[in-house]
Amino acid sequence: MKLAVWTYEGPPHVGAMRVATAMRELHYVLHAPQGDTYADLLFTMIERLPHRPPVTYTTFQARDLGSDTAELFKRTLREAHDRFQPQAIMVGASCTAELIQDDPGGLGRTLGLPVPVVPLELPSYQRKENWGASETFYQLVRAFAGANAPETGTARPARPDGQKPSCNILGPTALGFRHRDDVVEITDLLERLGIDVRVVAPRGATPADLARLGDADFNVVLYPETAETTARWLERTFGQPRTTTVPIGVGATRAFINEVAALAGIDPSAELDSERSRLPWYSRSIDSTYLTGKRVFVFGDGTHAVAAARVAANEFGFDVVGVGTYDRTFAREVRAVAEELGCEALITDDYLDVEDRIAELRPELVLGTQMERHIAKRLGIGCAVISAPVHVQDYPARRSPQMGFEGANVLWDTWVHPLMMGLEEHLLAMFRGDFEFHDAAGASHHGASHQSPSRQSASPADHAQQAAVGAPAPSFEPTAAANDLSEPAWSPDADQELKKIPFFVRGKARRNTETFARERGVATITVETLYDAKAHFAR
């Protein structure tokens, strides 16, 4: 048993849902109790999808156990087929159904549905979400592309003369971090290079699209977490080579362009010469001197953590003081980049370990997941999100890729934003005694509520000094002038009551109540007055 406060990954069937929801014309029938339907909200609320995930749950209850859960599964599967009429159906079990061993795959076969039924075996007590997504994609591709596989050992026929080179893009799912925008960015890039993008999968693909994956010349693996296993299988089966560079950052995007150009047999120089990223110039611009040697801690899935660490060191001039991942399957890559950058790797999926490490390293900036955002907030450190898991605010309305040259621009903007601007930082150091320079005052471009990341840049001694100076946060709630007799006074009860109102509306409640009392000549605000005012202003 493992104690978990927060988890970086959900169970493997959530990975399967990410694939199912990304695709079209595919349905997933999941043997699971009712509470597992929470997973729908990941897609409808966090990713804000305007449709339900294509998932039907059996929602068996205790009274069904031992009697007819298998029957219930069959009925659910048949009804889901009849209602949704998909091209194909995946069937599987969540953690609880795995224990009751109804064998959804076997039951699915016995029904004789007129569409393919793909069984998923996702061991919930050993594996996690990313593995589940990868395994699901692999099983689907095997099931649909596999039918068109050439005889083993057949050499791949040469591309006919006059036909443009072509590729598939593999890996983007639902609920991915910026997958939506990365796909657009990389598709544009490939098309500028003169490469046809045949199938993007799983995102946007149908089972029929998967069946023609073998047609393209090579595969672009955007997210190895979900697509590497599949790409390796396609390589073995169809002789399709695959990319190994993930184009995050300027350097990696250049390397990626060279890699795909080599696979496609084309000349990349036009694209490289017209490079569109502002990152190199912004990083060289004199104002950015203050970024030099900023201490940065990086944590995320393997791919994003490795990429972010390199970009931070080589393209921002930061000191990477630690890099880690929650995904053990990428431990080797993460250890390698840690060694390259001269810091220690942290391989753990225990949120508390990550918190301890960040507290110990005292970085000035954290590049992490939504979990690290919370850790950083608590420790008063600036943070930018670079990897799943993410929350609703990480699905921005604007296009905001991480990959390609535009992605590098986005990295520049989002990573620099939490930091102090150059001269501002000097002023803070010079005039530490200024009463407005306190813990609650952040970078001036953040407004009043942000915490100052520069606090963490100070040495421990500075910290002690700041704590001792301890300038209190100015109150943003206008309080009645003490000597103004026309102002109503708060009775102790009413004051107590006011404190129970959430802090973010308390100021307004106080002002409204005082206005209300003043207008009516009430000298002492009682609990009754408070609620009279609340009712008065209701709306």
Partner: protein, 428 residues
Amino acid sequence: MSAVRQSSALPSAGCDDLPVLRERGQREVFCGLTGIIWLHRKIQDAFFLIVGSRTCAHLMQSAAGVMIFAEPRFATAIIEDRDLAGLADANDELDKVVDRLLKRRPDIKLLFLVGSCPSEVIKLDLSRSAERLGRQYGPHVRILNYSGSGIETTFTQGEDNCLAAMVPELPAATPGEPGLMVVGTLADVVEDQLRRLLQGLGVPEPTFLPARNAADLPPVGPDTRFLLAQPYLAETARLLEERGAQRLAAPFPLGAEGTTRWLKAAADAFGVSPERFHEVTDRPHQRATEAVSRYRDALEGRSIFFFPDSQLEIPLARFLSEELGMRPLEVGTPYLHRGIMDPEIALLPAGTDLSEGQDVDRQLDRCRAATPDLVVCGLGLANPLEAEGIATKWSIELVFTPVQGYEQAADLANLFARPFDRRTRLEV
């Protein structure tokens, strides 16, 4: 296993006088674990340790919306392959987890071991674990257990089981001393308002279950009367009755009228004079009525459709129809307890369709066919319905917002008015 309580769904025999559509298909509702999200904030020195799977941990994190203002007082002991294969003794493993936890949080006075579907299917007996650990960590830490599993509980039933687990721990009330207990989690501010009103009526000093601190267990005995503040507490009510307490039947304190009827049940039970009752309740009642009436224009005549979620659906439909003139079409509830709900059902407008349980796809069909002006539903359904052009109100907000009592009646009305307000503002 003893940790598993019988599902509180009662047989339908006896309800035949009321036409209720009973559905058994896919239920799109949370399991009882979700109640921990509010319970762990209410009982300030309690910790909730779910013994479950990665799914359970992920549910908690997703449903809580990762609202980490402070470190949560809940966590999951995730069952792993080694525990299932018998390579590790699940009890030893649990002991280790509890030890790590209590060392980290020495402020914890009450630890709940919360059962999940996996722990129940593998028949891990958490009541024995609680007993064993209780001997080790007591009396400083009290250790109790209950089921929040999805195979046994729906959403708010988790709170029912949690409170039910506390009932045997309640001290015996002094015989001959009548007392009033208010049962069900309320926001602190609501609890204080209701306490003041009850004190004003002169009924005996009311006690609350759950209390803000684990040590403040309200006494119970044959002279205890109790009022449910939440409708989903059938099992807790049953166990309190077993200890001799008497339940005061009443509508729930939602809206001006609901709150007055709820208080009246207490007043009548303790012989409060009508004059006194009016003296205490008239002013807040009037204030609430006036504040609520400001939303009448926005809501009157509008139709509303409830998907089952918290068991608050019927009282809400009653409030919205009685005080705001809304027209409930279908009111779905995960479970219908006639014994508890009859006073509410009596106040619903004739022709309201009641449904119990769920088959979500069929219910969506009915919902689209009924073309309601507003749909109350869970987070999984809200955006998809909005995308179809149907206005929605997330039901979870009704559980996480202080809505009971006079002073919150207008806030409650506003929750339903806001979707309409928003639609009239938006030009895109």
